[in-house]
Symmetry: C2
Subunit: 279 residues, 2 copies
């Protein structure tokens, strides 16, 4: 039975993004569709168990969804990982996080892709958007030049920086800061208390085009690029990728998932993610 498990009715829940605003949902769907169109059949169907594709906390206050597609043998893509998390807050508000990350195999040294939107109120958004480098930029200025200078990513960062609602965001996790590139967009966006419409406008008119441009660069230059590396370097990249992935799971999910979903659900989800990450 080779029917992809993702084509069950459960699957549609991921792409539904049922708890976020229309512009927020549209952005996520557009990004994932771009990746899937560009990479086509080189992406294998999602094979996560249904209870990892969609899960909730015992009391139902928190829900989440994961979507993973691995690259086939011919692909430079290791896997793409989409996620959303929704959680009712004790204050009466809600927290919504959506993310898309894409990891390449150690046969290439090109950067990964990452976008994460953290919405803690209708007027408050944290955005992380970057092509995280896969080599030490201090030792490899040529890599910095190819992927960050010649692509003019700094211009994209400045497009958002100049909006009056945008302030730089500093992640409390120093490791997360360390994995990002010098042109990473780390922004805290605050609209006035009664201006949630302005936030939707910022997502639609400012964040969306920048995110799509970054993804386009990633697809052309990285996922469909032609940078292959020799065996020695491949081993080094695999080692760096492994530390990066383990630390990311530990920092990003290891602390928040047990809190949001309880021990049992969190253990199931993290266990499945570790399989994907070390695949």
């Amino acid at each position: 039975n080779f029917l992809p498990r993702c084509s069950s009715p459960l699957t549609s829940r991921f792409m539904d993004f049922p708890f976020v605003s229309p512009p927020h949902k549209q952005l996520m769907v557009d990004l994932i569709s771009s990746v899937e169109t560009s990479l086509g059949s080189s992406l294998l169907p999602c094979s996560l168990p249904p209870d990892v594709q969609h899960f909730e906390s015992p009391n139902g206050d928190a829900q989440g969804s994961l979507y993973v597609r691995s690259g086939d043998e011919s692909s430079l893509v290791d896997f793409i990982l989409g996620s959303w998390v929704h959680c009712k807050l004790p204050s009466g508000g809600e927290l919504n996080i959506t993310s898309l990350s894409a990891y390449l195999k150690p046969h290439t040294d090109a950067p990964n892709f990452l976008i994460e939107l953290i919405r803690s109120s209708p007027t408050s958004l944290i955005l992380i958007l970057d092509l995280p480098p896969r080599k030490d930029l201090v030792l490899h200025p040529d890599y910095l030049k190819t992927f960050y200078e010649e692509t003019e990513l700094e211009k994209q960062r400045q497009l958002l920086e100049k909006l009056p609602e945008v302030q730089p965001y500093f992640s409390t996790a120093l490791y997360i800061r360390a994995v990002l590139s010098p042109t990473a967009i780390m922004a805290r966006i605050e609209a006035k208390a009664d201006e949630s419409a302005r936030m939707e406008e910022i997502i639609h008119e400012h964040i969306s085009p920048v995110a799509k441009d970054l993804l386009k660069i990633w697809l052309e230059l990285c996922a469909n690029g032609n940078r292959k590396v020799e065996k020695d370097e491949c081993l080094q990249l695999a080692q760096r990728d492994k530390v990066f992935k383990n630390m990311t799971i530990e920092i990003d999910l290891g602390s928040s998932f047990p809190r949001l979903f309880g021990h049992d659900v969190a253990t199931r989800i993290l266990g499945e993610l570790k399989i994907v990450y070390n695949a």
Copy 2:
């Protein structure tokens, strides 16, 4: 004749910092004195030629001074480098830059030290203050933990960040961003147009204690620390340090010095610095 050339009357010019405000001068003198007291006789006397210790542009609009002391054989310190540059601006104002950097030898992997103050008007200051890491932090989370998390450097960064006059500063050189740590202080500080006294207060009451705390950590944990590395890693560190130093000279001085001091003076100074950097 082993009399250190720095003990000539010319030398005093470096420590005079003749063009900056008293709190700015006091900060630089205090930092350099701390380093010299802590490292004592393990620092060799400055042996720069007099015309590199102090130099000016052909028309006299720009002046500069360099001060270099190398570590002796027993020391983990490669060298410390102090500098100041003063330049009259066409607008009638003046530009003053002072810096202190300290580089360790590849026998240890501990971070370097860097402070730079760029003053383009009495009410405008750019501050760069950091312990630049000497290893890829993504691959070495334990290094991040030892030098940046356990030292609580983030608290120091936040002390300055919370001042209303302070905004994050993004260097136009992506390489400079890449060499800094996740807790680097990169700040653009702007006082109101008629409040240069407030800027002096910020230097004296806020920047100075933070800079001294960072230097104290560097002296205890890095310059006088006990992290020695094996031969293989020593070679890797030497390679990374070399790229770092060459890129830093190229970006930081290679473009500005010819503009400020003319081709001949710039060539003399850069030539001498390259000797120091590759020593």
